[in-house]
Symmetry: D2
Subunit: 344 residues, 4 copies
């Protein structure tokens, strides 16, 4: 049995890791840390886990994690970069669900995240945790920078078009909508049900931290710097991301885009290209690690629309992290991830 | 006191008309029709109206409406076109909240609405009920084709940019999100709370009936045929529409767009341009007749983003209809419409 | 015009007061205080109020309020008791929406609210702000302790049964459900949408602060100490309270309870007894000052069930406070309160 | 592999059976019927199941089911009673999720369900599918009448108190709240999101079909006819039931109720007695087969309050049905049921 540690076990990605790993039969959850809840039983904070986990929160210190084989960071940005080096030195694999190792350009990271990077050397080594693009590198990696939630839905949606060079990559538009769990489990007036329920709004329209991450990923695919307008929105629901992506088809493109997507993802068990005419619905991936995608060219014009949905806490965070772990450790990629969406 | 009749009083736009008109001090609600509920007290169906209306549903027949000064149609498409002519002949003003008289191109209307138009001659005479564009014509009109909900939010959002010729009108994008009350009060599995709650999806991405209506309106503003990609989405909330609009600025445009919008709408009490940096939220217009708008040019690029919100049942339907009535009858434009948004 | 001050204008009861008073034509909103937002425009915090209020937040200090005719306290418990005396001495009427003056038994207050009472002498003078029971006293009062939200729904529901001595007052049960706005606009993990949406729970089942308030009110009606089991619950919605009340009919009671309730409330414009067989629904009072009530005796047994709904922010807080103000100042009781429920 | 048939695979209990059984490794889903969708792929109707089930809907006819080992009825009331006899004669086990075989008193069944019972002889033979009470009988049964959703939450909550004779069984009160999925997947205005979202109401307060079912079960436990007031309510959420149960403790009862509940359910993996002071929350059982229970005696009085939550579609329907199947076929009781609650 692999011993797993989770640093930052009290946020939504942390508890989602616990939900998934509790059913993973190759893994033992050995350590769950929380600075504020040390000594408390994990299932006292999360009664949904009663009977499935017999661990108390411990301090997020190296000694507590030293016997783990894998450590997940489900922490706010700025924590993993302080601890990763020491863990890696001990041959412990590190899977970071935060943004600390996602951007290769340190200056850009520091600008968007508003702090100095404590561990820039490791950034080069970190593999971006999006298996559909970097499966091989993930399999051999020791440090994973898991893809963010918006970036996962957006990149999987644009990928085949950009790989094939079919669209104007200077004017991509990503109009993306997220449930409120994306804001995490921290006390904030803006995340109250009275503030977010029964209403809809855009936020950070002038620039969101996931913009450089998405641009970095798409630019790698395009082999040139892409131009992207990314507008995130808040949906009055708890889980789910829906990306509506727009691009202008290059002149003369007459490909069968439905076939293109189906072929590109034919061997991807967690990317499901829907039949022509079906619209994805976030409810159909709720609680599952799946991305469902549809492609439309309205009125046969030169604008292509891609609809891409994920559960932000699963394929957009904890599920993807476990998928990466399975690859790193040579397990079946679907271990712990077979749970189906909870409909309705 | 003006005598008002409402044909189709059992849908959401009908009951919203009743809520608004009950506080309008120049108006008496004389007739409310419902084929299926004849004889039932209106407030027995809608206990929220108890004490405010003392009328029973009657049959939607000409004789019952003959003494009215104004008749609103809050009916499914295809009903107003059967009755409007006779009412107008009697000098009764007709305000149609359905789509029967919105499209000037009869063939296009018949294609999108799937039926023959029963009254094509009146289409020419009908004035499109969007006061911020057609105030003068509305004031003198006898027949109003009220603007649809998506078209209102979208046209008000694009209007200043297009009037001033600042953007590429061949590649407009409208990513619009609506609460579920837009689907009306009819029994349909797809509108069940178990099907629409806690989830988000696009629908009709290949083409929605409001597409030709929006294109017609924007093309008039542009004095040329516009190109528009319009993708409607369903939000798990009851009321509200949020339009996220994208356009490419023409080369060399260096206008102060914030100032442009503020000036264009300076005298419009129901269009409120928010201060720079504020994002509109549908909750701030819930129950009110207001459209709130923000303009952003992310990263100073050549893509402009406009955010525009309304309550689909008020500014997107019943409120706008009453605003039109006030203009037609020479009342203050705000009569019955002073109610503020219900926050939270 | 009456000059009104609102202390604590940034919570939900504060902004609801603003929404209501903005349409009250005898009142000018002169002062709105907020310690944390001094100098900020009120409508910058609450864009729903744009155009309706032209005031900036000021400090909650006596000098700022000295020119007011009436001051509302929409503050956390423990604030009004520090300022009321000085305001009253200046002949300013005080309407407290918090709990500071609700309980006549100071010791009990101190036990439930966990602090010493700073102004016990005024407690005697304070009139309990529930017009349907204390209209006359309110009309002559200078200091009002507005009834709480749960207490309003519960007392109005039980009132006729207890006034008439028809039930066993030693074993009353109030199973009451509230929307999340009742928890106020303060940052708390337990009020996040991810924690309260799509779920239902009881809380404070061993004892809630509104228990002694309800018992005090019902005991006055009963002229004896009542026994009450009160279990509050949290509903995944923003506004609304639904009280389901159970009592055992005394032996031999054969009264027509429907008639009893209709007669008791015949002259109360804000208590609406529904026709036999109709169930109240919180949506039908959302945004309105109305309480709707139904009475059932299931299977003709000896248990009577009363269903009573209000909007917790209106009849349960700000609306009731304005109703009290209207009585105190001799205005029509319905000034500012004519807005109808927002359905759907 | 056991061959399973599901009659009525298009409702919410049907699709929930599919979600659970798809992960049950002893079972093959051989037949799913739907009169209205014959020939359509099951995963075309339910995209959440794509990749997990490779079956098309067939007609609900005996021949199609003849090769099954077990047939579940996830049908409206009145269907199972027409087909059960023939299936049982073929040695096919029948598990009915509808109410056809729940009430032992045929006359009472006919009164509450408004039809003649087509198969009264089998009612005697049917075992009530609530394993915590009837485990042994279920293990040997061929025909199961699965307990209803309200009855499951209510009976599990009251059970220890009544078994031990601690309360006045003539005046039990069950104030129970359900998510809207309990109303099923049928087009009805009353189940629209615009009608049920953001609101709360009681319904059927004068009498609900689950009343006789609960009374039958509790009367068996009490060995006398119980008196019960049962008021169901509709919560604006999709899944979950919360029962708040009230009973009067018999004079002199001084038992440790917490210990009593813990002992009674010590060996029940799907009934989880929460630690003293913890309130159950429906979110903590969403998607799981678990019932979580808390016991409170407020203010040390003579009224005991039990709080009991389930997921109405799992422990209240499909999960319980699979739990029964596991018992009938000698599988581990938890096969297919290990999925944990989806929090948040």
């Amino acid at each position: 049995m692999i011993k797993v540690g989770i640093v930052g076990g009290t946020g939504y990605t942390g508890v989602e890791l616990l939900r998934i790993l509790a059913l993973h039969d190759e893994v033992e959850i050995a350590v769950v840390t929380s600075r504020s809840d040390v000594g408390m039983r994990v299932d006292a904070l999360y009664p949904s886990l009663r009977g499935c986990i017999d661990v108390c929160f411990s301090l997020p210190e190296f000694d507590n994690l030293a016997d783990c084989d894998v450590v997940f960071f489900a922490t706010p940005n700025g924590t993993a970069m302080l601890m990763a080096e020491k863990l890696l030195a001990r041959n412990i694999k590190v899977i970071d669900l935060s943004a600390d190792f996602r951007l290769k350009d340190i200056a850009e990271w520091e600008q968007w995240y508003g702090m100095s990077h404590a561990c820039p050397d490791l950034v080069k080594e970190a593999v971006y945790g999006l298996p559909e693009i970097h499966r091989e590198a993930i399999s051999g990696a020791n440090l994973i920078a898991c893809a963010g939630c918006y970036p996962t839905a957006t990149q999987l949606g644009f990928l085949p078009l950009i790989e094939q060079g079919l669209v104007d990559v200077k004017h991509l538009i990503a109009d993306v909508k997220s449930g409120v769990s994306g804001a995490g489990r921290k006390a904030a007036v803006s995340s109250l049900m009275s503030e977010t329920g029964e209403s809809f709004k855009a936020y950070a329209a002038t620039g969101h931290r996931h913009l450089p991450e998405i641009k970095q990923g798409l630019s790698q695919l395009a082999s040139e710097q892409v131009g992207l307008t990314f507008v995130p929105h808040l949906v009055p629901m708890i889980r789910g991301i829906h990306a509506t992506l727009y691009a202008t088809l290059n002149k003369g493109v007459a490909d069968d885009l439905q076939a293109l997507y189906e072929q590109r993802y034919a061997n991807e068990q967690y990317v499901d290209v829907l039949p022509l005419g079906v619209h994805p619905d976030t409810r159909n991936v709720k609680g599952s690690n799946r991305c469902q995608i549809a492609i439309v060219v309205p009125q046969g014009g030169d604008t292509v629309v891609v609809l891409s949905v994920i559960d932000n806490l699963v394929k957009g965070a904890a599920g993807q992290a476990v998928q990466c772990m399975n690859l790193m450790l040579g397990f079946n990629e679907n271990k712990g991830l077979q749970t189906m969406a909870l409909y309705p």
